[in-house]
């Protein structure tokens, strides 16, 4: 793979073969030319209708078809929608809740707090029954309304929870009828459940504030407790993606030579304006709404559990949603491209929207400073809150990184963990972790992940986002 340096933080993969645009990779050093993720960046550049660049954030790693950490914007009229460009866990995302209480209060009772959260929020393989199985009608409402379905049923931290979600916690255009019976079956008893793998719910301490002004606007105060939730659309979103790939993979060639020429079957896609493209988009938007409802239900459960374990009222806790971002999604957005406003479908797979100050799509409370960008790290170190910038609007369709990215495969992690008690190591550092899966702690230990500080360091240096605060875990529940 040939790479050309643009500046210290950005490398370009020049156009060649069937690439319609160059690739661009944000990195703190020259990317390894044999990294298979780079080939995927080049493959994505084959997507019909792709605009400007096939982008890769600094946390890029090898995915299916699309790299994880990839951003691809396609023309809404002539472009292709790619389920692989969204990923299996549709609207996998993160939300952060601020609170009025001190982290020290939580730390004193961290075992009780963590146990109570673990009891309140179903985790792990096939976890279900946070709320009773949804009737078909309720499922339609969840798929149409997103976060507001849950706030309407009392699962809330504050009255402005949904307003503080990207897109108000609901994607317009969602088509519940496009969500298959099988996808509904997989999701009907999973609303309000965390799932497994890298999903987590944490109580954090705001450890350091880098930008006082922005932190104040975000409601972040050094030493305060915060809650962080990382989860997605559970089995429902997986099934939507799975069925779309199964439908599109064998039949791409019928959409023309550009589609036949795509170099990887997992890049399966369809014209946005084809029946298959429209159907996937409608189902994907509905699945995104399911994910927002899911995180919103867990928000309500977590707030109640925290109050119970600390014997305080919800008023004393003073929790509110700072923001909620999706990092696996494709969204219709307007962007300035070469001086012209264009309507694009922006695929972000393992990438976070990071709109700058003044953008009307940022909630009014943050519009002067920019959109909050939430970047989770691993359970043993820290996570970051950043803010979007004008540079991101120009260079990356308003996108930033999404997390640490794995360094070791799960197998390698198990080998590294052999003979160690990860649980005890975390306890020694003041972090209480309760997980359901016996292997989860080893697979998810800090050593298995890149240092997220390095990842956010690159997006900050490249100007795609600015650092606002660092959060450090006190109590973690995992699937």
């Amino acid at each position: 793979m040939r790479l050309r340096k643009i500046h210290d933080w950005l490398w370009e993969i020049p156009r060649e073969g069937g690439m319609k645009v160059p690739g661009r990779v944000y990195s703190d050093g020259p990317p390894a030319p044999d990294d298979p993720a780079l080939a995927q960046v080049a493959n994505v550049a084959y997507l019909p209708g792709i605009v400007k660049w096939s982008l890769a954030m600094p946390d890029i790693h090898w995915g299916y078809g699309f790299p994880i950490g990839g951003v691809a914007a396609v023309d809404l009229d002539h472009g292709a929608v790619s389920p692989g460009g969204v990923g299996y866990d549709i609207n996998c995302g993160v939300r952060v809740l601020t609170t009025r209480i001190d982290a020290a209060t939580v730390r004193e009772r961290r075992h009780l707090v963590t146990s109570e959260l673990y009891r309140a929020i179903p985790t792990g393989v096939g976890a279900s029954a946070a709320i009773p199985r949804l009737s078909p009608r309720e499922m339609d409402e969840v798929l149409s309304r997103g976060a507001r379905w849950a706030t309407g049923r009392g699962f809330a931290a504050a009255s402005d929870d949904a307003a503080h979600c990207e897109e108000g916690g609901c994607l317009a255009g969602a088509d519940p009828e496009a969500v298959s019976e099988r996808a509904r079956q997989r999701g009907s008893d999973q609303l309000g459940t965390l799932g497994s793998g890298n999903h987590f719910l944490e109580v954090d301490r705001v450890a350091e504030v880098y930008d006082e002004g922005v932190a104040e606007a975000f409601g972040l105060r050094t030493g305060a407790a915060a809650i962080q939730i990382h989860s997605g659309s559970r089995g429902l979103g997986y099934q939507v993606c799975d069925e779309a790939l199964a439908e599109l993979t064998p039949s791409m060639a019928r959409y023309g030579p550009d589609y036949a020429a795509l170099p990887d079957p997992q890049l399966a896609c369809a014209p946005i304006d084809s029946p298959a493209g429209r159907s996937y988009l409608g189902a994907m938007q509905a699945a995104a709404n399911f994910a927002w409802a899911n995180r919103q239900v867990m928000t309500g459960l977590a707030v109640r559990a925290l109050c119970r374990s600390l014997a305080i009222s919800e008023g004393d806790l003073g929790a509110r949603v700072l923001y909620d971002v999706c990092h696996n999604v494709a969204k219709v957005e307007e962007h300035l491209v070469d001086g012209r406003r264009r309507r694009l479908l922006v695929h972000r797979k393992g990438a976070t929207r990071a709109f700058g100050p003044g953008d009307p799509r940022v909630p009014a409370a943050y519009r002067d400073v920019g959109q909050p960008v939430l970047i989770p790290g691993d359970m043993g170190r820290y996570s970051y809150v950043l803010v979007g910038t004008a540079a991101a609007m120009e260079e990356t369709f308003g996108s930033s990184c999404h997390g640490a990215g794995r360094l070791l495969s799960r197998h390698q992690a198990m080998r590294v963990a052999r003979g160690r008690s990860i649980h005890q190591e975390l306890l020694d550092r003041g972090i209480e972790v309760i997980s359901r899966g016996k292997k989860t702690l080893a697979e998810e230990m800090s050593d298995a992940y890149k240092d997220v500080a390095r990842v956010v360091g690159v997006v900050a240096a490249a100007g795609l986002s600015r650092l606002v605060a660092r959060l450090e875990p006190i109590g973690v529940i995992k699937g």
Binding site: H111, S115, G195, G235, R406, S409, Q412, S421, I434
Partner: protein, 302 residues
Amino acid sequence: MNDVEHGARVPFLRAMGIRLTEVGDRHAVMEVDVGLDHRNYYGGAHGGLIASLVDSVCFFARPLIPSGLRLTTTSLAVTYIRPARVGDHLVARSQLLHLGRRTASLSVQVADGGGRLVAHGSATLMVLDEAPGDPAGQGAHDPPEALAARAPAADDGRVRLTLPQPYEELPHTADVGIAVAGATPEETLARLVLALGAMLSGGGEVSARGEELLVTAGGPDLAQVAVATLREVLFRFATRHLVPCACEARSVTPAGAELTVAFGPYDEALHGEGVDVKAVTYHGARFERAAKGWRAQVILDI
């Protein structure tokens, strides 16, 4: 089977979350993270958990169970020194003091993560007789090609295979791949289905509760037929928590596959080491002729 895998074969230990982590010439080590299910009436660790640790760890010094001896406990004494709490990591170490023709004597110390003594004890085990070989362990970790020739094949090419079957895990940073080999496409696909079963169950025993005939239309090639088949199997896990434990593939062609699959229920106590597979991907999916027979692989999203 390596030495520590003997521990994973005891359902009771799996249910309790007790892991065998070390087997030595005169000692063994077992560990447990005290969880919510281990609590006693007052919320601390139940004394029975610690007694179970003391008893169980005695059996796994290398000259005992790992060497094929069959033994049973005839006396057990436990002295509790300090309480253990939920969240504690307990480590029990047995020391083989004497192994005679009829009995074995052992002492045990149980410490918490900080190295503080939680309990100590002693046990006398009676030697029953020598166990037969180790059928369950055969070939479970051999490379797939090594076993391709060993599979029983009926005259009509049909084979019914049950867990465990040989498979190989492929390295993938975020996810996991499985690869299998077989003499025919039918045997290869059946092994792929069971490799998925092994991933989901984590090697824990799966008891069949029913069979289902799966007919998958796939195409245009065998790899896509394999992905389509595994998607069907995984859907049953995702919605009904069923794990495949036996499989007979009747026909496998590029146009589709027909298989009978036996499923058993997922049980967290038995299958806690399993992987929460969420999707079967087309990425890197292969199904092709190999030097001997066939070889197939898929990457699973987890």
